[in-house]
């Protein structure tokens, strides 16, 4: 049985996530109302603009239902999705609301503006070799993470100009989050990993 996984369709690269999830063996439903949450067994929060997603989630009375849903089913957020799942944000709007639940502090646009967006190969042991070619677009960074958060990937200090590892993929129980965008590549391993999380939840 292939699980039904929702993609939050407020804004962003919804279609790309839907395509990857289907390739990874899930049935996909685009969701933007509470009624559509019924019957999904996992949810992806896509890349996009976290400010917009947050404002529209509040205005359309989706934030509380999303928080409740988060306690029940696995969720995966890429880029803006990572910010939406983070407990704390820095460099965001002071009033920016998130779904929360992921015990991290995310720093928005941590790598700079669009001219600083980049591609880089990342070692991600949880999905095996070879390295994952990751695309970062005005990406956030996991600035700090609680002890119950497992770090899946970091840009090593040697490749960053800051002399410290930069955390860019994490898992905490049934929450998965990446700073980068696997949905705009053809490497399905991150989506495979999430579909497996949903299957075994």
């Amino acid at each position: 049985m292939s699980p039904v996984i929702g993609v939050l369709a407020i804004q962003g690269d919804v279609r790309e996530h839907a395509h990857c999830l289907e390739q990874s063996g899930a049935q996909v439903r685009l969701v933007k109302t509470v009624e559509q949450f019924q019957g999904i067994s996992g949810l992806v929060i896509p890349g996009g603009e976290s400010t917009t997603m947050s404002i529209l989630a509040v205005k359309n009375n989706l934030l509380e239902p999303l928080r409740e849903l988060r306690t029940k089913i696995p969720m995966y957020g890429s880029c803006a999705g990572l910010i939406m799942l983070a407990d704390h944000i820095t460099d965001g709007r002071s009033d920016q609301e998130t779904i929360g639940g992921l015990h991290i502090t995310a720093r928005r646009n941590a790598f700079g503006r669009q001219v600083d967006s980049f591609e880089i190969d990342l070692a991600i042991p949880a999905i095996g070799a070879p390295d994952y070619h990751a695309i970062f677009i005005r990406a956030p960074l996991v600035e700090s993470a609680a002890d119950d958060v497992e770090v899946l990937a970091a840009i090593p200090a040697a490749n960053s100009l800051t002399n410290s590892d930069q955390i860019v993929a994490v898992r905490q129980d049934n929450i998965l989050a990446t700073s980068f965008h696997p949905e705009i590549t053809s490497d399905l391993r991150i989506h495979d990993y999430f579909v497996e999380m949903v299957r075994s939840a």
């Binding site: 941590a110 669009q114 591609e119 677009i137």
Partner: protein
């Protein structure tokens, strides 16, 4: 804002086109100062376009329209956390260099400004920052993509509040894509010749049934229903220029257009968003504008 640079590769086609993917389903609003930029951000705009005069004023005041003052663009970058775009004149690669150096997230090589070169567009591959360009038909869109545009917007007729050209241009582009998809392989050579577009790009569109980049629509969108219609016609998102800040109640209208774009396929929600918005921008019928004064005619 502190930034953590890496040794990763910047300015690639993937990060340029990918940036536009993240804008999908959103509304990009023209703003002329920091205060308007805040209104746009608060309403849920996906990005703002910083420019000195909205198209309706450019049209009314006449004269040469150029890139905005860097101080004004800086002020807007500082005021909001969402992406900031800015316009360069068609072919004016130095305006584009200046805008890139300001840290703008996307450059619009725009027919709304007075062209700086009536033969060549900017070589957009030469830049790290991505470009969006206008198009009235598929051939024009593919020529811009061939020059490095990472996003296309159908032109419509800016500064009018008359949606008819926006409708015409998005229908034309979508229709031409459908036509290519139905062709056999050996017909694509002639199709490329007729579209005056590179054969490889024509084949890619025929196979995919879509442009290789994101397609927004622009030029004359003034109401929530206008925005929703563009989305139903297959646009990935909308630009709203004069339609918001030339209306009676910009705050309400900005919110309403964002809501209608989100719920574009739900008439009940569009109806709700359309209530009590006050005056829409007065507008000009495109048919009343002599052809030489139509902005959509600029670019080739």
């Amino acid at each position: 804002m502190a930034t953590d640079a890496t040794t990763g590769l910047t300015g690639t086609t993937r990060v340029k086109r990918g940036m536009a993917d993240m804008l999908k389903g959103g509304v990009i609003m023209d703003v002329v100062n920091a205060e308007q930029a805040k209104i746009a951000e608060d309403a849920g705009a996906i990005a703002v376009m910083a420019l000195e005069r909205v198209p309706a004023d450019i049209r009314a005041q006449g004269g040469v329209a150029r890139m905005s003052d860097p101080d004004m663009i800086d002020g807007i970058i500082k005021a909001v956390s969402i992406p900031v775009m800015a316009k360069a004149r068609i072919g004016h690669f130095v305006e584009a260099q200046v805008i890139q150096s300001l840290g703008v997230d996307y450059i619009d090589e725009s027919e709304v400004l007075t062209p700086a070169d009536y033969i060549n567009h900017i070589d957009k591959w030469a830049f790290t920052v991505p470009f969006v360009c206008g198009a009235t038909n598929l051939g024009e869109a593919l020529r811009r993509i061939n020059e490095g545009a990472a996003m296309i917007r159908s032109k419509g007729e800016a500064g009018t509040g008359d949606v008819s050209n926006a409708t015409g241009h998005i229908r034309t582009i979508k229709g031409e894509i459908r036509r290519l998809s139905s062709m056999s392989k050996d017909e694509l050579y002639v199709a490329a010749k007729e579209l005056q577009a590179p054969y490889e790009l024509v084949c890619e569109v025929a196979e995919k049934g879509a442009l290789p980049v994101v397609l927004f629509t622009a030029g004359g969108i003034a109401t929530p229903a206008d925005a929703a219609m563009m989305m139903q016609l297959g646009a990935d998102g909308v630009f709203v220029g004069s339609g918001i800040f030339k209306s009676g109640d910009p705050v309400k209208r900005a919110h309403a257009i964002v809501q209608a774009t989100l719920h574009f396929d739900n008439p009940d929600e569009i109806a709700k968003a359309s209530r009590g918005l006050g005056e829409a921008m007065v507008g000009i019928n495109v048919a009343d504008i002599p052809v030489p004064h139509r902005l959509a005619e600029r670019g080739w």
